[in-house]
């Protein structure tokens, strides 16, 4: 075990391991690129849906259940299925990662909107705000912390799952896990796993920091 840890330490700290087109720096960059793009696209799709059902209260049952269904979809299954149609491209990876991120953002956005007190909305109406004004000035600001939590959850899930890109020959930190497993190079597998975990934790801490700064005046 100590042997393995010293091998792991050597693997992680060797300069040669970090440089070059197959080095850790490049893999890390690819991983961040896949994750960021997927979360961004997912947010663009999921936020309007969550806001709409939260604001109008319509379609909540359908959307929440569809989200639950989305969470249950096996990512590897989606990747293989889309791959057979799209061929060798990043499309299957992006589709499955976006599908993974949407449910967390939709449900949290909806939950945030649903938690806005009816009194606050009534007050907004009473002040003469239109529905849209009430949404932008009252409901979204009040729901923002929960919405942000949803985005954070989704981001961490996507980072952990973006290793799937390596399954269909692409890069990212999953490359080390898939190659290491097939070639029985356990140091490489563990190195990849540690890097993915470290990246997920680091990004979550950064988002937590942003969360704090944004909502520091809140009581909740």
């Amino acid at each position: 075990m100590t042997d393995l840890f010293s091998q792991l330490a050597a693997w992680l700290t060797s300069a040669g391991q970090w440089a070059g087109p197959e080095g850790i720096a490049q893999r890390l960059l690819e991983h961040v690129e896949y994750s960021l793009l997927s979360t961004l696209v997912a947010a663009l799709i999921a936020l309007p849906i969550g806001l709409f059902i939260g604001h109008t209260g319509r379609g909540a049952f359908l959307a929440i259940n569809l989200s639950g269904f989305g969470r249950a979809l096996p990512t590897v299954g989606i990747v293989t299925l889309v791959f057979l149609v799209s061929g060798l491209s990043m499309t299957p990876v992006y589709i499955s990662l976006v599908a993974l991120a949407i449910p967390a953002i939709v449900t949290n956005t909806y939950a945030g909107m649903a938690a806005v007190e009816a009194d606050a909305k009534d007050a907004a109406r009473g002040m003469g705000m239109t529905g849209l004004q009430s949404l932008w000035r009252v409901e979204i600001p009040l729901a923002a912390p929960l919405i942000m939590t949803g985005v954070r959850l989704a981001t961490v899930q996507v980072i952990a799952t973006a290793t799937i890109a390596a399954y269909v020959s692409f890069g990212g930190l999953g490359r080390y896990i898939f190659d290491g497993l097939a070639q029985r190079d356990l140091t490489q597998v563990l190195g990849g796993a540690v890097l993915v975990a470290a990246l997920a934790v680091a990004v979550d801490l950064i988002l937590a920091g942003i969360h704090r700064i944004l909502f520091r005046h809140r009581l909740t």
């Binding site: 060798l88 269909v168 020959s169 190659d179 497993l181 097939a182 070639q183 029985r184 356990l186």
Partner: protein
Amino acid sequence: MNPRNFVAGALALAVLPVLAACGGGTTSLNTPPSATGSAAAAPDSTMVIGTANFSENQILGYLYADVLEAAGVKTTVKPNLGSREIIVPALQNGDIDLLPEYQGNLLLHFDPKATASDSDALQQALTAKLPQGLTILPPSAAEDADVFTVTKETATKYGLSTLADLAKHNGKLVFGGPPEVKTRQVGMVGLKDVYGVEFKGFKSLDASGPLVKGALKSGGIDMGNLFSTDVDIAKNGWVVLADPKHLIPAQRVVPLIRTDKATDTVKTALAKLNTALTTEELSKLDSLVDNDHKDPDEVATEWVKAHGLSS
């Protein structure tokens, strides 16, 4: 609770068991595998059959199980364990007892510089090279070799009929196969050593499965590492590149077993199966699973029944 402390605590809690699990698992795989030292790991009489991560190997595992059960041996099948690099050490450690293997690649696993290429020479070399505690039984008539395959269009475009032709197009073609092919002799390493072939790139996909075949079909890769028993090769009119320098050794199916489990009953049962199983039959079985999406376990059981091996 202070959120910062909470985060730190949760992290520590989450990470510890993961590390412990990794450490535990890897130490057992990491210690130099000694087949003799850990015989105590499998004290009961059940024969644990492991299989690699592709459908044909799983079918073979279930075939072994069915004929052994018919001979009165209790069996458990652990399908889809991984590549040879994973499962052979598991066999040496006593986690599993029996594996359906392939002569040539198995020999190269133990002796990367081995040159034996016909079945008899391979059987001899394997007997000499196998670590203590492991035995190979006589091979089946069925063979399944790695084949390097291109589409008809690619073959025509680049004038490819043998592996030697690939060297004329060094740096132009993309090769796809499972990740282990990148570091194996029957793969990137041997293609460079024996034929002087260099590729534009390597795409890590799966072992003669939907990914590598899909990529070959759609042009994502130019050449794919498939298995000779794969019926999709003929179905798609793909071209298998000839191997004039014998990079790819004979690959007859052969049972690799822990010596202490190779009783006469077991040997007789597997020998009967090996006589009945031909390349053509194996190919048919593969197709039932890969193309008709039947369950490998059921396919094997039906085949064993149909060939009178179930009693």
